[in-house]
């Protein structure tokens, strides 16, 4: 009953204007496709890239402080196996540089030279960086090069954060290694080779993101806390030429 009705309307129309419709159909199709395509283009341009990390929720480890702003308790847990600073062999006869264990026997002083995540087949050179006048870490422009905050701890130091940061990606270069590290599961081994040839190994304990508006918790950069590796990059939405969040991977010394 309704079917013929439905059929009849357009059917009549079609019958009446068949010749014209046939002539104009390709033009209309082209115009519609063009408008759709242009619209899709605008939509793609406006949409942020999907570089997201689970928002401020620790993946594992660490009893979370309410508010999730401060990832690590400031106090060092009792019984932290930190080597005493004065453990360096002062006796001149002893030969202290028998390698490798940099945290034991002597205090580590060598800067990080290379970051590697063997399981992900990733490696990147590391260079020392400072802080600019505005307080921003001077991250190397090339996402394939990692910056080490040189006023923080060195890898293998008995205490403190060794802070490494890199751009997550860059136009014309593509994604950097840290983009991949953000996807490393908890427990993944991260290796840092130093300028004196030793290697310090860490295991990923948490991956979090912090909105840039709120800034990063200062204790991520502490030199008096437990020895750990802090990897920082960007994540979140890409708005007005910058990402909205910082992603932070924390790995503890193995």
């Amino acid at each position: 009953m309704t079917l013929p009705d439905l059929d009849r309307g357009p059917g009549r129309e079609r019958a009446r204007g068949h010749g014209r419709a046939r002539r104009w159909a390709p033009v209309a199709a082209l115009a519609v496709a063009g408008v759709l395509s242009a619209g899709a283009g605008v939509a793609v341009l406006a949409s942020p890239p999907a570089l997201r990390v689970a928002a401020a929720a620790p993946v594992v480890d660490e009893p979370d402080a309410p508010g999730a702003g401060s990832p690590t308790p400031a106090a060092t847990p009792a019984g932290e196996p930190t080597a005493p600073v004065d453990a360096r062999p002062v006796a001149p006869g002893a030969s202290p540089v028998a390698q490798p264990a940099p945290a034991l026997g002597r205090s580590a002083v060598a800067a990080p030279a290379r970051l590697a995540v063997p399981d992900l087949d990733l490696a990147a050179d590391v260079v020392p960086v400072g802080v600019d006048d505005g307080g921003a870490l001077e991250v190397p422009a090339d996402p394939r090069v990692v910056g080490w905050w040189s006023s923080g701890a060195v890898p293998g130091a008995p205490q403190g954060s060794t802070v490494l940061a890199a751009h997550v990606d860059a136009a014309g270069v593509g994604a950097g290694p840290l983009a991949e590290v953000l996807r490393a599961p908890v427990g993944t081994t991260v290796e840092v080779a130093t300028t004196d040839g030793s290697t310090v190994r860490y295991a990923v304990t948490e991956v979090r993101s912090y909105p840039k508006q709120g800034g990063l918790p200062p204790d991520l950069f502490a030199v008096d806390g437990p020895p750990r590796l802090v990897l920082i990059t960007c994540s979140g939405a890409f708005v007005d030429g910058r990402y909205t969040d910082n992603a932070v991977v924390v790995a503890t010394s193995l």
Binding site: V42, S107, A111, G130, G152, F221, I232
Partner: protein, 218 residues
């Protein structure tokens, strides 16, 4: 108080070293490592004394000025212990820091205000780590005992400076932001896709419009 104690200890080390050399100068056989370390440690002392003086002149914070004075005092004392040993062993000491150390200080001194303090601490942290590493190498590979004694005596002083500098760096301000993705690849690639779609779309509409006009005219 502790400074006095430290200087007394260093003076004692220097005297012992000189006596040891005098007593057994025939046996004093410095190797290449000993010579290298004496020169490097002396130049580091000169560099750190000069940096200390720069801090006294330009630092904006009391903490950095205090570090500057400490560097001047301690490295003057360390160098006073080192110089006679080098002389006894016939190792010629340069009168100036290395060109690299001079360039670093010039770069730091070109800054002013808080930027100077930050740059100064940053440079001193790197310098003291290098000094510690050189001392460890001397202890491991040196052969002349009096030189190794100097390296062993310097180590805790340099380590103390480093610990203080790291703490000061925290007070001057840890990085407050990490701009780590200003030229997003993801954005760049989706930009390309978006522009391609937009371009194709506009072209298609234009062609369709052109056809309409032509057919109307016909």
């Amino acid at each position: 108080m502790t400074s006095l104690l430290r200087r007394a200890t260093l003076a004692l080390v220097a005297t012992t070293a000189a006596l040891g050399l005098a007593a057994g100068s025939a046996a004093a056989q410095p190797n290449e490592q000993d010579r290298t370390w004496l020169v490097a440690a002396h130049q580091s002392n000169l560099a750190e004394i000069a940096a200390g003086q720069a801090a006294l002149q330009k630092a904006t914070t009391e903490d950095v000025r205090m570090h500057g004075q400490m560097l001047i005092d301690d490295h003057t004392a360390l160098d006073a212990a080192l110089t006679p040993v080098a002389q006894q062993l016939g190792v010629e000491l340069p009168a100036e820091p290395t060109p690299e150390q001079q360039a670093t200080l010039a770069e730091v001194s070109a800054q002013s205000g808080e930027a100077f303090d930050r740059a100064w601490v940053e440079a001193q942290i790197a310098g003291h780590r290098a000094t510690l590493a050189a001392g460890e190498q001397e202890l491991a590979q040196g052969s002349e005992q009096t030189v190794k004694d100097l390296a062993a005596a310097a180590a805790p002083v340099v380590q103390k400076h480093l610990d203080g500098l790291l703490a000061t760096a925290q007070e001057l301000g840890v990085p407050t932001s990490v701009p780590a993705g200003s030229g997003g690849q993801a954005a760049a690639s989706s930009d390309a896709l978006g522009l391609a779609l937009l371009g194709t779309g506009v072209l298609a509409v234009a062609v369709a419009g052109g056809l309409v006009l032509r057919r109307r005219r016909v």
